[in-house]
Symmetry: C2
Subunit: 442 residues, 2 copies
Amino acid sequence: MAAGRRTDPIMTSALKPPRVVIVGAGFGGLAAARRLAGRQVDVTMVDRRNHHVFQPLLYQVATAALSPADIAGPIRAILSRAANVRVVLDEVCGVDTGRNVVELTSGAELHYDWLIMATGARHSYFGRDDWSAHAPGLKSIEDAIAIRSKVLLALELAETETDAARRRALLTFVVIGGGPTGVEMAGAIAELARRSVSEDFRSITPHCSRVILMEAGDRLLPSFPETLSAKAERSLRRLGVELRLGAPVKDVGDGHVRLDNKILLAATVVWAAGVEASPAADWLRAAHDGSGRVIVEADLRVPGHQNIFAIGDTAKAMGIDGKAPPAVAPAAKQQGRYVADFILGRAQRPFRYRDFGNFATIGRNQAVITMGSFELSGFVAWLIWSVAHIWFLIGFRSRLSVTITWLWNYLTYQRSARLITGEIACPRPQSLRSQSLERKCA
Amino acid sequence: MAAGRRTDPIMTSALKPPRVVIVGAGFGGLAAARRLAGRQVDVTMVDRRNHHVFQPLLYQVATAALSPADIAGPIRAILSRAANVRVVLDEVCGVDTGRNVVELTSGAELHYDWLIMATGARHSYFGRDDWSAHAPGLKSIEDAIAIRSKVLLALELAETETDAARRRALLTFVVIGGGPTGVEMAGAIAELARRSVSEDFRSITPHCSRVILMEAGDRLLPSFPETLSAKAERSLRRLGVELRLGAPVKDVGDGHVRLDNKILLAATVVWAAGVEASPAADWLRAAHDGSGRVIVEADLRVPGHQNIFAIGDTAKAMGIDGKAPPAVAPAAKQQGRYVADFILGRAQRPFRYRDFGNFATIGRNQAVITMGSFELSGFVAWLIWSVAHIWFLIGFRSRLSVTITWLWNYLTYQRSARLITGEIACPRPQSLRSQSLERKCA
């Protein structure tokens, strides 16, 4: 490796290879680790989970189309061949920037010459954390399994519920937030409840389920052009999703959502309305924006810390054009590669985000894509979306397995991973008739 | 349907189709439901889970080779086309045999004309239930995920453990019980720890892990001929499994197993030593054997209850030859079909178990099969085992998916489902050096 090209004083003064600590094995952290693999640096990757999650497909686990292992792989296996990268399962609880040390909850410490914070984002309930118990968000495999269990359990309870109002609430699914995640969740829940399972029940007709997508703003997919928002709205309506635009949620409680003038009874509420950054800014005592994102320089370094970077959803980077890159996987990956190059002495220019387009899918056969001034929607967009997502999946096994599962689901309308696991809440007392209940739209 | 053939007073007196309640969607209950599908009976299947589990492959989920959805499918989907079968997700808490009613924990009741108890078995710790916290057994998807997390977490903790004795304990895996489940678990853990992950760690060499299989009796697989026991022992030793035969366990505690004269330190202990029947005998206030199994007549009816059957692992049936059928899936399936035929007025003879052989597999390329006086072991036995297990998997998707996953695992030695999910216990405090730890057999 061209050590002579390195110009940073921290690197040239070290006799041993410089120690790089990467916190978080999301898209950004993993891209940095891969770029540093095989180089003259000693890399430690810390994550509190043992697996990387392909987040763009998490909603498919939440709606029983894919298994967790289809979209998640052990970080250790992904980085197995990078002999200079060590993977540590632990949780960060602080950073001592004076001593150049990352503090872990196990009590251990990691010394760094370079630190890359790639800790991502988590749900934000805009200060109403009590809503989280009633409206889970979708960030981890556990979140996805919990939502899957909740959706499937609601259908199961509806099957034996004799009270019409309660049955109606069990068959009402609300998604809050009209961004890409909310649109994808609403479309997928509608396909699952209204189509895939509809032959499996005797007392209810899941086809009559209500799926409601709520968005505070006046259109879906605000980050897309208006024409595509309109197409997404039409596609969702065709799937049977009810849209409530300009409908800010006032309260979320056990089994209900309150709008300005109305209470909606729904056993299942999913939160896709907001995220906030991880506590990286607190750990670094760094300046942050309203969402908690660390404000970084043009080269992604944290002001006042010449050897600390923040990337991905946990950073607020101002591009040279004055625009911040969006909170999407490609931006995090590009930033990860950029900081790796910076550490290797190869990146002198400020970081520049290259926009390769923006995707959202709306159930079977429908997606919208925007790429600069280019717009695409419909079946071709959906095919491009499918191929792109399979392509970017990590590991050959997942690609093959997901391809086959998707083909199978597509041809049969089945959902192959309809498992309710974990502690099953005992269904609430109710009178259950042994005879078949009447089949009717509840 | 040949209603004229029915001779039972309960059936002929009913104007409506007789109501059959099946408790438990294991192999026995599902076989009964499938045989009753499309007949002039009104069937209700109750299970406390929404999915049927293909138990013979559960150990492959516990060792990260397969995903839960590969070996489990929604009961509702399996019985979707049987219009006369209703599926209810609920838990049985009692049976009122006077009123012919099954009581559910939801407060609901199910009236029956015929009742089939197919509630299976659970782990038995021989009165030492406190051992269950330290030595989980393998009966459900949750059990398998918990064991998987435990095994993978032990390897993760070993990677950063600097104390040699603790590292040794983390890399010691004990399986208690030398029946088919214990043999399969020990072989699969050895393959996982000693081979599949060995390139992924930096500080430890998982190849040096100890996998110890303990059996109180003097040979493995006591239900197989001695020649096959000997072959299984050789195969396991070749995989690096240590065998402790004639070694009854005296105590199991946090991180250790005590034998007569020795304490073995092991972070991971798996229980495969004993099962006991579900509480069906209590619910029915029926006579049972030492393992809690309901003692049934030659026609599988519970003595004193002309309209109640017990089948599978929850029943003790005495064959006409005086031998009870073994606690395996084929016996449960045959019994399920028999009682369905009985209800349909088609089975007048006592139940007779047809033995199609006995299987156990010992990791890659090795299995033992016995079928009457026919014995087979080695690669061909393993191929037969693989084909048979794929064949009996429920649903086409699972078959295809498992075939591909197995082929992939076989060719690459990889384990594709290495996810630690659920609440991850925070690794205990330890000093962690930032430099690489020396690579040595701990």
